[in-house]
């Protein structure tokens, strides 16, 4: 943890200081969004947190606390106004163009609340598209997609369009898509937000199993206390800052 963050929020031991290099390191992130000519919102003020390899971490906090913004910055979908983002020991907040695309394709997988599958593509195509963006040929990407759909138990739904799948099945396709390029990190933005309790529980167990079996690091932004409880640790945010990294007192 950075000195500033330590001074502000104190508490938790920093894995970066003692143990192996964290796979995610967010240092004093600030992000301001303009709402109008003179109107703006400070989505992040000075957010700092770290995630070690193989962890499954929840980010919680009230609406507007900056959870999703933090996830977008860590996921290289947006760049901070100030602060640093480190992924797998490499600083990525200044990356642009092809280098940025490569990070998104190879190092991070995304799972979204509304599943966000492409409606005209069947399950296999939705998964293989991400592999194709990472440079695999169409054939190799399709083969890899079938492997992943098998892993999430949807081998028999491979040719189905998203509209022909249940919410839980769609989210499993999204999980398969997030894993197709074997990223070390999977970021989930309210991954169970649109699911009922039973399905939500199923999806969390699936992510946990992948986390355990493949040592994939999961960072899940959630409002759901049960999802947070299923994670190793909960990072709490409020007013654009991390108030607790969840390492315990």
């Amino acid at each position: 943890m950075s000195d500033v963050a330590s001074a502000l929020y104190g508490g938790a031991p920093d894995p970066a200081d003692a143990g192996p290099t964290p796979v995610i390191r967010a240092v004093d992130l600030a992000k301001r969004y303009k709402l109008g000519k003179e109107n703006f919102v400070d989505a992040l003020r000075c957010a700092a947190f770290e995630v070690a390899e193989g962890e499954m971490v929840a980010i919680v906090g009230p609406s507007g606390s900056g959870k999703s913004t933090a996830m977008h910055l860590v996921g290289c979908l947006d760049s901070p106004d100030s602060g640093e983002v480190w992924l797998n020991g490499r600083r990525v907040d200044g990356l642009r163009g092809r280098a940025l695309t490569r990070v998104r394709a190879h190092e991070i997988g995304f799972i979204f609340q509304g599943f966000n599958l492409i409606p005209t593509m069947n399950a296999t195509e939705n998964v293989s598209q991400a592999a194709e963006y990472a440079g695999l040929s169409r054939g190799a990407a399709a083969a890899r997609a079938r492997e992943l759909l098998d892993l999430v138990g949807l081998a028999d739904r491979a040719k189905h369009l998203p509209s022909e799948l249940s919410g839980g099945q769609q989210q499993r396709v999204a999980i398969a898509r997030s894993l197709v390029n074997s990223p070390k990190i999977v970021l989930g933005d309210e991954p169970t937000g649109d699911l009922d309790t039973v399905t939500s529980d199923e999806i969390v167990r699936m992510m946990r199993k992948i986390n355990t079996d493949m040592r994939t690091t999961f960072v899940l932004v959630t409002h759901n206390p049960e999802v947070a409880a299923a994670c190793d640790r909960t990072i709490s945010m409020r007013d654009g800052a991390v108030i607790d990294q969840g390492y315990g007192a």
Binding site: G97, R104, G109, F110, E125, Y133
Partner: protein
């Protein structure tokens, strides 16, 4: 396949946009086919007139003169220095009256005194039967476009200006004037021509000395334009035209006509292009969230741009192909209908067909450039938030 599926997500809109391009390409193909036909006709003229001088009595178009000449003048012309040979020819309309609508390809009767043999380089060969023999009367060869009109077949007879002639040959297609020409002996043509002359003129002329023009071949190394000027100087009552005059008069006016025709077609295509821009902009707007997802899962700006350009190209190409097929069908139907009158209007050439589809595709690509660029440069976070 994925690109095609994306294009047809909004079926009605896709079909309407494609229809816009189709209309543009249809007009390009139809108008283009007309100019192709005219161009070939004129190119044939350029080839024909390229090495010779045409002498008429005065105002004339393409050798069709209203005022008759007499073959006595051949000797005068051949005395002009640089002239190798002068040959009398007689041309007139196949039907006594001009068609109300014509695009330069009017059925005609042609005849020559045969003095051009060995000099004429523009040789029309026969597809069936044989060519006319010198002095052979009562016989004709028929241009390929007139076969249907005259119901001609080798060995059969045809009626021309109320007289019956035996068909000895049907000419090979040349895609220019001879396709719409019935060739007969000069004597037969002179008889037909004399019939139409006013009685006073008829009495003062020997019908078997009539000609409407002289084709003048120049000696090797001589410039036909220079010889034409020389003839005009030596024989001021005649009007000699060299190849340059033909080219400047006919070709220049054809170029203007072609430019106008193609210009009109282009305008309709441009309107089609604007509808592609509109469609693609709407597609980008509707699929903003999808673009955000694609970027989040690793799509580069280039990949997004290629995707939307490919969709625009598919719209352009589909519209182009449909327009080509419809245009080809339209021109074929009209040509088939016109075949009876011996004046096919259109010619869909390979370059026109390929060019139209290629142009429509390129137009699609260009029309898709801005929407695709806009899509590629969307901020992924804002795109993902888009509802």
């Amino acid at each position: 396949m994925r690109v095609i599926r994306n294009v047809f997500r909004r079926k009605l809109r896709a079909f309407l946009t494609i229809f816009g391009i189709t209309i543009g390409v249809l007009s390009l193909v139809v108008m283009g086919a007309m100019t192709e036909k005219l161009t070939l006709l004129v190119n044939g003229g350029v080839r024909y007139y390229g090495d010779k001088v045409t002498v008429t009595s005065g105002a004339s178009i393409g050798g069709l003169s209203t005022a008759p000449l007499t073959t006595n003048r051949i000797a005068d012309i051949e005395r002009v220095p640089g002239v190798a040979r002068a040959s009398a020819s007689l041309g007139m309309l196949l039907d006594k009256e001009l068609p109300t609508v014509s695009f330069g390809n009017i059925p005609t009767i042609g005849a020559s005194d045969g003095r051009d043999k060995g000099y004429e380089t523009f040789i029309v060969t026969m597809a069936q039967g044989r060519d006319l023999r010198l002095g052979e009367t009562g016989k004709v060869t028929v241009g390929s476009d007139l076969v249907k009109k005259l119901n001609a077949q080798v060995g059969g007879t045809v009626t021309i200006r109320d007289k019956k002639f035996q068909v000895v040959g049907i000419a090979e297609k040349t895609l220019t004037a001879p396709d719409q020409t019935v060739m007969m002996s000069l004597r037969d043509a002179q008889d037909l021509y004399a019939e139409d002359l006013p009685a006073a003129v008829k009495q003062s002329l020997d019908p078997h000395r009539l000609a409407t023009s002289f084709v003048v071949f120049v000696k090797p190394g001589k410039n036909p334009d220079v010889i034409a000027r020389l003839i005009n100087h030596e024989l001021p009552d005649l009007k000699a035209s060299g190849p340059t005059e033909f080219i400047t008069q006919i070709v220049a006016s054809l170029s203007t006509l072609n430019a106008i025709i193609i210009g009109i077609a282009m305008i309709s295509l441009m309107v089609g292009g604007l509808s592609v821009i509109n469609t693609m902009t709407m597609a980008v707007s509707e699929r903003t969230r999808e673009i955000g997802i694609r970027k989040a899962i690793g799509a580069s700006n280039g990949a997004i741009m290629r995707q939307f350009i490919a969709e625009a190209a598919i719209i352009g190409m589909t519209g182009g192909l449909t327009g080509l097929v419809l245009g080809w069908m339209f021109t074929s139907v009209v040509n088939a209908a016109m075949e009876v009158s011996g004046t096919p209007l259109f010619l869909v050439t390979a370059r026109l067909a390929v060019g139209s589809v290629l142009f429509a595709t390129v137009l699609g690509v260009f029309s898709g450039l801005y929407p695709a660029w806009h899509a590629a440069n969307l901020n992924p976070v804002e795109a993902l938030r888009h509802e």
